[in-house]
């Protein structure tokens, strides 16, 4: 099977919610969304981000938009104005998830 990356079948945007980041993934069509429902789970996303996410990953489904919303708990080293990291609001996490290698 040809190796793809998530960017081939989805769009993503991320931002902050206090000390947590959210990553929204919008799939191109229903076939891609159905793949995401099965394969892009909270545990695969948690595993992918590794040490970047200290807490749990929660997943919410938006079938109307063919989208999944992930909350990456405790991933901004404090968040807000308390964090010292360069990407204080997790703005680049969306780009990161799109580079995930997938079997699609």
């Amino acid at each position: 099977m040809k190796k793809n990356i998530l960017e081939d079948i989805a769009y993503a945007r991320s931002g902050d919610k206090g000390p947590n980041a959210n990553v929204g993934v919008v799939f191109k069509d229903k076939v891609s969304y159905d793949w995401g429902l099965k394969k892009l789970t909270s545990s695969t996303v948690k595993e992918y981000f590794g040490t970047m996410v200290k807490g749990q990953v929660e997943r919410y489904e938006l079938p109307n938009l063919y989208a999944l919303n992930f909350i990456l708990n405790d991933s901004l080293q404090g968040g807000g104005s308390e964090t010292l990291i360069n990407d204080a609001q997790g703005k680049t996490f969306g780009q990161a998830i799109l580079m995930m290698q997938i079997d699609f």
């Binding site: 191109k28 970047m52 010292l84 990161a96």
Partner: protein, 448 residues
């Protein structure tokens, strides 16, 4: 069916300064909404007001905007709803009226009062309000003496009432961001507090446009498909009486509006999509459908809403120590090794001084500061920006850190540069404490 065109020309304080005036000139709009506030902004404004009670504590950019566009706003009857009043709406109003007086124009400016509870915190606490942290459950007594601002996210009905009283400009304090769009709909269409689906629909419209160009092709995954980003059009929501709406942008502007640019923004900073809580209504973000109506126009219909909660969100900001971060540029060869060595020298020097920090941070910009553990190591690194940061409650310890970077240029590994900005500045950490308050404890009113 009646319909109104509501634009957003400012997603945050610091957004494009020309966007609002372009919407006024070319947008054919009825309402212009402008969002200037974030948690940290309120705290900065509170401090400005303490220093200068007569003139400080509001978004001064807004006054400059009105100064440049007041004739057109009044002649085209474009109403403006902005949270530009910050923590000193009266001073903001005064500045606006001075502009109108100078030009011999009549301008009606309304202020929405009741969101700023900074001076009433003790009274509320004495009367039994806990203000526990929404996420951690901790008692507000932990931070009481360090609080620098306190604002309630109020509902949109007072702003609608201000429009009914004939305001040309409505100065809100901490109205919810989507509320800037909901308010004119309530006024124009006579929606009631129980029109949940309609309020929810306008809330979705407000959520989509509240970050300005982020729904019109800005920050979009397929950025290479977006034309003319240098002249990106800011969004306009055309809301119908039944709540359905379309997102568009002025003709002859750059950017892109399609199902995906809008969907990305719908997901921005979203939590549980089935339960998006605004002060006006609870919204189900899984309920509606998007439709690409024509080029750069996306329609939304079918939004479902439910009764709001009986609490308002309260946002406290409080002083929580000091921080500083600074950087050095390290060139090849061996850029990463030299950057690591430089960091080691700086941390060892601080340790030798017995300085302890609550938090430290070492990052390699150009390599891994964004994607951290996910980064694939390149074969050759041309240069790296070493970025270091510290946080502490002791000002002098943070100040000492700021003096440790520059010496590396002459006393560390070779090929270190990029220090022309001088020593980094020590900044106060303004932390954020989210909480709730029962709605019946808060009274909002219109002052015109």
């Amino acid at each position: 069916m009646n319909s109104i065109r509501i634009a957003n020309g400012q997603g945050f304080w610091g957004d494009n300064v020309d966007a609002p005036s372009k919407l006024i000139h070319y947008g054919d709009i009825d309402y212009l909404t402008l969002d200037y506030l974030a948690e940290v902004t309120m705290s900065i404004m509170q401090r400005q007001k303490i220093k200068n009670p007569e003139e400080g504590g509001y978004a001064t950019d807004f006054v400059k905007l009105i100064d440049s566009c007041i004739d057109e706003i009044l002649s085209n009857k474009i109403k403006i709803i902005a949270n530009a009043g910050g923590v000193n709406p009266h001073a903001c109003k005064k500045a606006l009226l001075e502009i109108a007086n100078k030009k011999k124009l009549t301008l009606k400016v309304a202020i929405i009062k009741g969101d700023d509870i900074y001076n009433d915190i003790d009274t509320f606490i004495d009367n039994g309000e806990k203000f526990s942290n929404l996420y951690t459950g901790e008692s507000v007594s932990l931070i009481r003496e360090h609080i620098t601002s306190a604002n309630v996210y109020i509902d949109s009905f007072s702003a609608a009432e201000a429009l009914a009283q004939g305001a040309d400009i409505v100065l809100c304090g901490r109205i919810s961001d989507p509320g800037l769009v909901v308010a004119p709909c309530i006024y124009e269409f006579g929606w009631s507090k129980s029109d949940f689906n309609k309020l929810a629909s306008a809330t979705v419209a407000g959520h989509i446009v509240e970050c300005g160009a982020q729904c019109t092709g800005g920050n979009f995954s397929k950025w290479m498909d977006v034309q003319n980003l240098e002249n990106i059009g800011y969004p306009i929501a055309s809301v119908n009486e039944d709540g359905t709406f379309q997102i568009s942008k002025p003709d002859n502007t750059g950017g892109l509006i399609n199902r995906f640019t809008v969907s990305e923004q719908i997901l921005y900073e979203l939590g549980d999509p089935k339960c998006y809580i605004s002060p006006d209504v609870c919204v189900d973000f899984t309920s509606f459908k998007l439709e690409e109506v024509s080029d750069n126009v996306v329609g939304v219909k079918g939004v479902k809403g439910y009764a709001p909660t009986d609490t308002y969100k309260v946002s406290f900001s409080y002083f929580n120590g000091y921080k500083a971060s600074g950087q050095l540029t390290v060139s090849a060869p061996n850029a990463l090794q030299k950057a690591k060595k430089s960091a080691e020298i700086i941390w060892k020097n601080l340790e030798a001084l017995n300085l302890k920090y609550d938090k430290t941070c070492t990052e390699f910009l150009g390599l891994s500061s964004c994607h951290q553990s996910l980064v694939i190591m390149p074969d050759y690194i041309n240069e790296i920006v070493l970025r270091l940061g510290v946080k502490s409650n002791a000002y002098k310890d943070v100040l000492r850190f700021t003096k440790e970077l520059a010496p590396l240029i002459t006393s560390g590994p070779p090929g270190i540069t990029g220090f022309s900005e001088g020593r980094p500045k020590v900044k106060e950490v303004v932390a954020y404490w989210p909480s709730l308050i029962n709605k019946n404890r808060i009274t909002t009113k219109v002052e015109i």
